[in-house]
Assembly symmetry: none
Homo-oligomer: 214 residues x 3
């Protein structure tokens, strides 16, 4: 009420905590950065020697619409498969999982935070922070395919305004970015992904580099 | 928002992963290919030596309406019976199951993806990929009967546009296809099914042939 | 109906019980104090020697809207993480938790009671009462970030009217407070928080001082 939808100010300054990733949203009001915060608490077990057997539970908050809620379920599955494929299974089963999109009063929807949510859950599970200047957008399918999204121009402007220099967009949106005026493209390092594997490589290799540089 | 319902671009190029099948949908906007993606993760058990006892659970995403959600339940049952009849029981009980229809923001409904969902679950369980140029449509009943669907003309056009050469339609739709102009029929290999057994034979024999040819 | 929204009379005189915190609300009718009451009852367990394993449950009452209900979930998570970080885990798992905002007939919504709810749950778990003259407002994110809220002027007036001398506002609202006329600022001790850690320090150090002075 009286508050602009998706304020453009950066919520986070400096290093992001593990589990928090900068996404990009697009509304009738224009583009904006949209943080995804994932956290977890260890599940209590009656017998800590036995493995956790219940399927993971993910609670989502932030006034997410139905499409975005489904996105979070897909994100959890893709993240679990990524972790399993890397031989690091267990985290998602052994913790209560939470995912939030500030600001809490702003309704949000759409599938384009799929890659962001997946990355947030993996960053949390692997305890690897994501670089503050990396922003991403893209729908993700159950097989990890990265699908086209809308608002590439508005999202690029929002990313620039928030000081993000490295962007991940869906490969299917490459033309949308190429058609932007030069002054919007300049100084950005943009990766185009067809599969979440490529998002993973950029997000976590970047994380390594940032750690090495520090 | 600003995005056409059911884009006609192929989401998948080259070999489909096991569990993913090309369906055909039909809306007021015309026909389109509609992928069904099925995936699974092993269920964790407190005692891995004992068999899994809980009934299978299938989570569905992709903004499916009530009819399509029920379709997915029927598809799981028909797939379990198919597997059991072939002496390969167990997979559906030992895994958490997921089924998704990209794109996540497009509402979808109707029973005509029944054969596609059933095939996706079987392809996943048997780890046999389905040929990329095979597309199918048909409602399936609890006993495996394949029932008539709408939009045969629009679906045929969509299949051609997506490069699908082999189609499975319900036997009850044979006349609808026969009445199409010659230029829409030419070059297509169409199978008409009365029971899912026939869909199975086409989908997995084709898979064998494709594997042999490779 | 017929009752003013958010009456400004103090509901509590003298020492607040542990778990009750003075918040500040803002409506079209102006600002007002808004108490958050948290209470708990020990969970009954079949075997008291084994640890409680079910995730905490929080029941909320007081005609809270959807945003405020989500706020309470986030508050519980942030409170659990605060307790865990201080090595005092267990309370939230071993009790049934209740959170109420009098007056029960007045609909309330919005995210700005986030810090108040979190403080109420921690005050309850730690059995440390919060000073009667401390009032607070601020949205809280899953990572404990304190986010800007609206109505700083109206909330400051309400706090003065209720005799609250120490206020906690989000750092992002510092300018809003600085722009208030001198007569509204005078005699107030205002803390500006960027993270819930700072709210914790003010709320419970104040609590200590109050206990020492008594």
């Amino acid at each position: 009420v009286g508050k602009p939808v998706f304020t453009s100010d950066r919520l986070y300054e400096g290093q992001l905590p593990s589990g928090t990733v900068t996404g990009l949203a697009w509304t009738a009001m224009g583009g904006s950065v949209l943080y995804i915060e994932a956290t977890a608490l260890a599940r209590r077990r009656s017998d800590p020697d036995k493995p956790a057997t219940a399927p993971p539970m993910l609670a989502v908050t932030g006034q997410l619409g139905n499409v975005m809620k489904e996105s979070s379920q897909i994100a959890l599955l893709v993240a679990r498969r990524q972790l399993q494929a890397r031989g690091k299974d267990g985290f998602f089963e052994e913790h209560e999982l939470f995912l939030h999109c500030p600001e809490g009063a702003t309704p949000k929807d759409g599938p384009s935070a799929g890659v962001t949510m997946t990355t947030a859950l993996l960053s949390l599970a692997m305890k690897k922070p994501i670089p503050t200047d990396l922003a991403m957008t893209g729908e993700v399918s159950l097989n990890g395919k990265v699908l086209a999204v809308g608002g590439i121009k508005e999202k690029t402007i929002a990313a620039r305004r928030a000081g993000c220099k490295t962007l991940i967009f869906p490969e299917a949106n490459r033309r949308d970015f190429d058609e932007l005026p030069k002054y919007l493209q300049d100084g950005l390092n943009v990766h185009f992904a067809t599969h979440f594997d490529e998002v993973f490589d950029v997000a976590f290799k970047e994380a390594e580099e940032a750690a090495n540089a520090a």
